[in-house]
């Protein structure tokens, strides 16, 4: 089999679809260390930088809230400081875990962006990550 090296990008047709862009779509993921939202720590934020080629970005955050009684938290996803979408997660009894899944398909312009997710206390004490295997996950990727 012959091997041929091409130095540079291949672009096909007048509009220039770039192989480089197709194989270089941005992505990132953040596995939170276990944390607690309570009267002392009222917010926890994680951020992922990404450089995009112009395609939409899917952002999603999953995990579970372990409440004390009916504690609740608001989870919000931001892009470059602008709120994209939020969700409220509330327990109904102590230690009755409530899973969550928050997602948004975002259409940013090509370039560098920072996506973040914040866990903001509503009331009570909420534990995220009761062990090393149930932490909250925040992931983003260009589709």
């Amino acid at each position: 089999m012959a091997t041929r090296m091409i130095d540079g990008n291949i672009e096909v047709d007048n509009t220039g679809y770039s192989l480089h862009d197709l194989v270089s779509k941005g992505y990132g993921t953040l596995r939170f260390q276990p944390f607690t939202i309570d009267a002392t720590t009222t917010i926890n934020t994680g951020t992922i930088p990404i450089t995009t080629t112009g395609r939409p970005v899917f952002a999603f955050c999953t995990g579970d809230l372990n409440p004390t009684d009916t504690a609740w938290v608001r989870i919000i996803i931001y892009r470059d400081g602008v709120q994209l979408r939020g969700q409220t997660v509330q327990g109904y009894a102590t230690s009755c875990h409530n899973p969550f899944s928050l997602s948004v398909l975002d259409y940013p312009s090509e370039g560098h962006h920072e996506y973040s997710v914040s866990f903001i206390r509503g009331s009570g004490t909420s534990v995220f990550g009761s062990g090393t295997e149930s932490q909250a996950i925040f992931s983003i990727f260009e589709i």
């Binding site: 862009d21 197709l22 939409p56 939020g86 509330q90 327990g91 899944s101 948004v104």
Partner: protein
């Protein structure tokens, strides 16, 4: 400058150009609902996304949270393609105002063409608020060809 290592044949002609175009332009769509309430008066809410696909599967995801109004209220979240049922989940509150998040997902293996994907959020019982904190907290429905 980057490098591409080719082991075999590469054909770059009109047909392949269209293929690359399809890859680069795989369709997508999203519905960001405004806040709404499902109850005995308004029993269903729907969102639709139209995609013209090249033959690759389509991923669907609808997420949000249900805020039950009166107790153990519940709703169904159902995904359809061209009127054909694909997937349903049921979301129920444990008690009044105990917000319960949900995620309905499906990977649809569908032939190339134009397809209409819909999500229906329908009443099971009681009063269910989607977007307690306003429209930024209402459900989202997204679909794209992978």
């Amino acid at each position: 400058m980057g490098k591409i290592k080719i082991n075999g044949n590469v054909c770059v002609g009109n047909a392949d150009a269209f293929l690359l175009k399809n890859i680069a332009n795989r369709p997508y769509g999203t519905v960001k609902f405004v806040a709404f309430t499902i109850d005995s008066t308004n029993t269903s809410q729907e969102g639709a996304i139209t995609l013209t696909t090249s033959g690759r599967p389509v991923y669907l995801i609808c997420t949000g949270d249900l805020n039950p109004g009166t107790g153990t209220d519940w709703a169904a979240v159902s995904l359809y393609r061209d009127g054909t049922f694909l997937k349903q989940i049921l979301v129920q509150g444990a008690a009044s105002s105990r917000n319960n998040p949900f995620a309905a997902t499906y990977l649809d293996n569908v032939a190339a063409g134009t397809h209409v994907y819909k999500v229906y959020i329908t009443q099971g019982s009681g009063t269910c608020v989607f977007g307690e904190d306003g429209c930024q907290e209402a459900p989202t429905f997204s679909a794209w060809e992978i």
